[in-house]
């Protein structure tokens, strides 16, 4: 019973991380129609920035996490004008379809190997941002994990509030519903696209910073997460933010709980099996509307 509770708590923490990651990915897909294969590399960048801030520069943890989010945000700002806009310009009115996938796969390879070239392939250890253990009944959970959950909740709440009430957030939602009409209302499309992409990857960057003490940091740390996030977005319904949130928690808890039944090295298979099953049985996902051809 104790271990069950422990697995449940760990699953919820994992779900919080997945949500941070998958909601960003879903936001980008919903607005730009781009599936960002390089999302995990921004997670890795966040981890590396935290490593530099904490271990090399001895900055306080709060500054490190903020720097990670900011760094990923700034990198993300460059993606639309440098990669996606030129491709759109060449294609003109033709839809890009899967070319975005190939393009961001290239970005992923480029970023991952650049990190490898700059930082080397070693696993970098990062000290915990906070120490100590929170006792919950018969079991305990480290404050580091609590921090992941708390920050993820705050950031996601802030994002939803931004989209709901802020003027720019309103513009983002307008663009996601109908780019042409939004443009006709005087919304600067390129600016909204850049902003959305940057916001989405900034969430991944913060996630990378928060998880760095638990996962260590290495160039490929984010890629498996990207694939899992695909599974999550498909389970939740492509482009559906609430669905992504719900699916993240489901996958996170399922991954932790499955250890009770099968050996832990198969844990990572859960997401992929879920993804294949969902696509076969209910391709629109849990909360998605049936829009799939």
């Amino acid at each position: 019973m104790e271990s069950l509770l422990e697995f449940l708590i760990q699953g919820i923490v994992l779900g919080g991380l997945y949500a941070l990651f998958a909601v960003g990915l879903t936001l980008i897909f919903g607005v730009l129609n781009v599936i960002n294969v390089a999302h995990g590399e921004f997670f890795a960048v966040g981890g590396y920035i935290l490593f530099c801030a904490l271990v090399l520069l001895h900055l306080p943890a709060v500054l490190g996490v903020i720097a990670s989010g900011l760094g990923a945000f700034l990198l993300g700002l460059a993606v639309y004008p440098l990669l996606i806009a030129p491709l759109n310009r060449r294609l003109g009115r033709r839809p890009a379809g899967s070319l975005y996938l190939v393009l961001t796969l290239g970005l992923s390879t480029f970023m991952q190997s650049s990190l490898l070239a700059i930082g080397g392939g070693d696993y970098r250890q990062v000290p915990p941002l906070v120490r100590g253990i929170l006792e919950i009944g018969p079991t305990g959970v480290s404050y580091q994990r609590v921090l992941v959950l708390v920050v993820a909740t705050i950031l996601l709440a802030a994002l939803f509030a931004f989209l709901r009430w802020h003027r720019q957030g309103l513009a983002v939602r307008a663009v996601s519903q109908n780019p042409e009409a939004a443009q006709a209302m005087g919304i600067h499309l390129a600016r909204i696209f850049s902003l959305t992409l940057a916001l989405g990857v900034a969430l991944a960057g913060v996630g990378g910073a928060l998880m760095a003490p638990l996962f260590n940091v290495y160039p490929a740390v984010g890629f498996p997460l990207t694939i899992k996030a695909f599974a999550i977005t498909i389970l939740g319904g492509m482009g559906n933010l609430a669905g992504a949130l719900l699916a993240s928690l489901i996958i996170g808890v399922a991954e932790s709980m499955v250890v009770i039944v099968v050996p832990s090295q198969w844990q990572n298979g859960v997401a992929f099996l879920v993804m294949i099953t969902v696509l076969l049985l209910r391709p629109q996902g849990l909360l998605g509307r049936a829009a799939v051809r």
Binding site: I35, G97, F110, F223
Partner: protein, 326 residues
Amino acid sequence: MSRRTLLSVVGAAAVLLPLLVAHPFVLSLATQALIWALLASSWDLLSGYTGQISFGHAGFFALGAYTAAAASKHLGLSSWVGMLLGAVVAALVGLGAGFPALRLRGHYLALVTLALAELIRLVAQNWLAVTGGPFGIYDFGSFTGLPASGLARARAAYLLVAVVVAAGIRLMLYLCHKTRAGRGFRAIREDEVLAESLGINTTAYKLLAFGVSSGLAGLAGTLYAYYIQLVSPTVASAATTSLVIGMAVFGGLGTVWGPVLGAVLLFGINEGLRFIGVVYNLVAVGLVIMVFVIFVPRGLAGLRLRREGRALRGDAAMTGAGGSGA
């Protein structure tokens, strides 16, 4: 120079290479380049030519490699049987992946195949009894009946690989240009709904593309296994898929022979970079993918001196330019 003469010149040069160059290292590079060429063109048959985007070819490649290695190691089978088995197993799994693909398009297919490759990697890493886990399979021998060592061996291995690769590519070119299937593939790529309404059996042709493509990717995997003589879970990693897609985009999508060119050149560039001390050569692969997708959609194959007939847009496959796409 027409494409046919160009291809025969290249083919002749490929056969003559082991006679002209008497250096095992160069031959080894050339052999590996050919294996990549088969993998890249098999990806192109499915994704570039038929328009069914696969992000899982590393999985099919690994499946072939592991099947061959395990067959030789645990059952003591000869490499000929191993190659056949590897190709057949990969083709069967490819067909299995093709069934959901009948309902999925574009993004979804790419994501499912990516997950499939990741599952294959997971099995390779954890099924210790058969796959040897993270260390992989080794000590299972090379191609049956090769000379023991030295230049003679390098030459024989090169010729064997060259013949198998050429046969595989020839088969795909034949399918694409000389049979109804080729027209079926193109019709699916250009506009699947229209193709279906014209009475083309898109289901059968899609499955055929899946089977042939994954089978030949598996065959490339078996060649890799017997040539390198070590198969570890890293071959199934997404980096392999990324490299292959990079080769195909570099060479030219939707041509089958363009990716062969792309593979040989990109592999050559990679090894060249390694030679002058740049170890992290996938940076270049990432750059090549991005630059070519944005600015050079037809790849190197599109940079012909003289246009031949009606040239399709190189990336029409992925943009769904034909009509009802997206």
